[in-house]
């Protein structure tokens, strides 16, 4: 395969930066000409995928909604060559994604309810000072060029515990596992990240599952807009602001934890583990169903290396557990080949104030109302085949897992009468357990679909050189 030119690909597309502070700016172009002037000024500041000797203080990346590309007056042939779901935008795909009821746009933040977002401009930084410096620089650029207005921005950042930044999110789960390996994308590969090969080894996924312009798992180049030069080395991002009802979640764990299994002080953690498929410390339940195991979590060669083929009944890791739904691995047979083209790369970060520790009594409703959650960002070459499919068929539905209409307990949007089942066995500590009256732990507060262009494509945008033929 062709070697990746990391200097042409935005760094955000290739890896998670692991920088603890972030601010996502949402811009609206004034007009095409001034917008391009702004892009010309931003271009040299955009962080590429080149490896660092030393981590920079701050990084900068940029992506566009379809209406943003329309505002830049790209040629019609290019605009209509984008996949339909990107052209429609995430709000219009609501019926497909199950963004109804509490997740419907009427509940979204103002910036997402209106259809003005053109640009996502992302600052990731080592420190609040570095973030502010970069932010001020951006504000200056906006003023000097008059290229765009700042509609809103979203702060996010790693949750610190005892002075150390963690990869935890607000429900207490250690997050950040399971991003796929792709061919040619240089990163620390871990067994279990890629696709399963016959014989039980793991290989990286085809590059074209992430980046446009490269062969994908179906043996062809993914559907991409024209011209090739504009699309190559680009990718699509889904951005979703997911509010977390921490109070409701803790209440649920406490209440149901008492009734689960032996009802002792350990069962609450076990219940939490069964819901997601990982203990809250990150130990995969499939590898260690009875207790968390720091030795496994801390070993990158073990913490994502597992399969479900020996656990089709779900007695170790429930069939409907979150990570089993989002990456069924070999659970559907065929050496996992039905899953290779449904993978996504996540880059999310928590946002909002850190919740008080669980042993402190706080009114759950107060906890729910605080503006905290996860900024979910996922990258894929095809929004409809990858993200949308998983969201619709595997999260909001359960047929492929033989679970009928059952949804993901953690992030599914639950209506009346829904149930979540945890499969068990005859041991007292691991019984079958069914949850009813499912609360909504996560609520969507907005988002959209973005195109993250290559550096070349950015240059073409800035210089108005996108020519579809």
């Amino acid at each position: 395969m062709s070697k990746l030119n990391a200097s042409d690909i935005q760094g955000f597309s290739l890896r998670g930066y692991n920088l603890p502070f972030a601010r996502f700016l949402f811009l609206h172009f004034t007009n095409a000409e001034k917008g391009r002037l702004l892009l010309t000024r931003l271009l040299p500041l955009i962080t590429t995928g080149q490896l660092w000797d030393k981590k920079p203080d701050a990084t900068l990346n940029i992506a566009f909604t379809h209406r943003g590309l329309v505002a830049l007056e790209l040629p019609l042939a290019t605009l209509i060559s984008f996949p339909p779901e990107f052209q429609l935008g995430m709000k219009a795909r609501g019926t497909i994604l199950g963004d109804v009821g509490l997740n419907a746009p009427d509940h979204w933040d103002k910036v997402w309810r209106e259809d003005h977002v053109h640009v996502w401009l992302a600052i990731n930084a080592q420190s609040p000072e570095a973030l502010t410096t970069c932010f001020t620089q951006m504000q200056t650029l906006l003023e000097e060029t008059g290229g765009a207005t700042l509609l809103d921005f979203q702060d996010a950042g790693a949750i610190p515990i005892d002075g150390q930044f963690t990869t935890k999110e607000h429900f207490g789960y250690t997050d950040g596992f399971g991003n796929p390996d792709y061919l040619g994308v240089c990163r620390d590969t871990q067994p279990g990240q890629g696709k399963l090969m016959p014989g039980g080894t793991w290989a990286p996924l085809a590059t074209g599952e992430l980046l446009l312009g490269y062969a994908d798992e179906a043996g062809e180049l993914p559907v991409a807009p024209v011209p090739h030069l504009f699309a190559s080395n680009g990718t699509f991002m889904v951005y979703r602001k997911l509010h977390e009802n921490v109070g409701t979640f803790r209440e649920f764990l406490n209440e149901s934890g008492k009734r689960y299994g032996t009802g002792d002080d350990k069962t609450k953690e076990k219940l939490a583990a069964k819901i997601v498929g990982r203990w809250r410390d990150g130990t995969p339940v499939e590898l260690s169903p009875d207790a968390p195991d720091a030795a496994i979590v801390n070993d990158p060669n073990r913490n994502v290396d597992f399969m479900f083929g020996q656990d089709l009944a779900g007695t170790r890791c429930p069939v409907g557990a979150h990570i089993r739904r989002t990456n069924p691995r070999d659970a559907f047979g065929f050496d996992g080949r039905l899953v290779h083209r449904r993978r996504i790369s996540r880059r999310g970060l928590p946002y909002g104030p850190v919740a008080p520790p669980e042993d402190q009594p706080v009114d759950p409703r107060e906890l729910d109302q605080a503006d905290r959650g996860i900024v979910f960002m996922a990258l894929n070459a095809s929004l409809s085949r990858q993200f949308e499919f998983v969201q619709q068929q595997w999260i909001s539905y359960g047929n492929d897992a033989h679970l009928g209409n059952e949804k993901d307990l953690l992030i599914g949007h639950h209506g009346e009468g829904e149930r979540f089942g945890i499969q068990g066995d005859t041991t007292a500590a691991n019984p079958p357990f069914f949850c009813s009256n499912l609360p909504n732990f996560v609520e969507l507060r907005g988002g959209d679909y973005f195109f993250i262009p290559s550096i070349t494509a950015l240059g073409m945008l800035a210089m108005n050189l996108v020519d579809p033929r």
């Binding site: 779901e85 795909r93 019926t95 497909i96 199950g98 798992e217 179906a218 043996g219 062809e220 559907v223 009944a313 779900g314 069939v319 047979g333 065929f334 080949r337 039905l338 290779h340 083209r341 409809s384 085949r385 949308e388 499919f389 619709q392 068929q393 909001s396 539905y397 359960g398 047929n399 492929d400 033989h402 679970l403 009928g404 209409n405 059952e406 009468g417 829904e418 149930r419 089942g421 499969q423 068990g424 066995d425 005859t426 019984p431 079958p432 069914f434």
Partner: protein, 198 residues
């Protein structure tokens, strides 16, 4: 007038075949019919409720006389009717990913078949030879193959539990009931609305 009824999709595909090749396809279907392991992958895919292939030889379009003008075609025609669960894209992606050899064996005799890998030309071909359904009836549109299988499984376990229950002590029953729940536990998903078609 829709290809979709609830959770099931009616696909109709008709492709022309040179009559000189049809006998090979008949042989392949015969093998598929008598040698069960050849069907294993198809069964494991778990989203086909019913599917059939029908070869209509060139001279065999039904002729009922009267003012009907007889059809004597040059090509034999392969009719394919599938009743499957999931989306159109998912269905074809799955076949292309795991059953491409089998698909090729069946359709390579059809004119202009591009092969089942890679998937985009394959999807374009199917789009060009797919017919729309005028009326699609299902007695249980809220249920997929998996739902139906699950229902039968749970009912059998339930029947078995209940026929012995009355003669058991509560302690014995507790044991049987636990076994029953374990046997049913991954088959209890509710049926209902299908996800929005996209």
């Amino acid at each position: 007038m829709s290809n979709i009824n609830g959770k099931v999709y009616a696909m109709n595909v008709i492709t022309p075949m040179k009559p000189s090749k049809t006998w090979i396809l008949r042989l392949i279907f015969w093998v598929l019919g008598v040698w069960k392991p050849a069907q294993a992958d198809l069964i494991q895919l778990k989203f086909i409720q019913f599917a059939r292939w029908v070869i209509v030889p060139a001279g065999s379009f039904p002729y009922l006389g009267g003012r009907q003008r007889k059809d004597a075609m040059r090509y034999d025609y392969l009719f394919f009717f599938s009743n499957f669960n999931g989306t159109w894209n998912q269905y074809i992606d799955a076949f292309s990913a795991v059953l491409s050899d089998g698909l090729n064996k069946i359709w390579r005799w059809s004119e202009k078949f591009p092969g089942s890998v890679p998937v985009t030309p394959f999807k374009n071909y199917i789009t060009s030879v797919q017919y729309d359904t005028d009326y699609y009836f299902s007695a249980y549109p809220q249920a997929t193959v998996n739902d139906v299988e699950a229902a039968h499984l749970v009912n059998i376990a339930f029947e078995s539990l209940c026929t012995t229950a009355s003669s058991q002590t509560p302690e014995q029953f507790a044991q049987s009931y636990l076994q029953f729940v374990i046997a049913s536990q991954s088959h209890l998903g509710a049926t209902g609305e299908a996800p929005a078609v996209f």
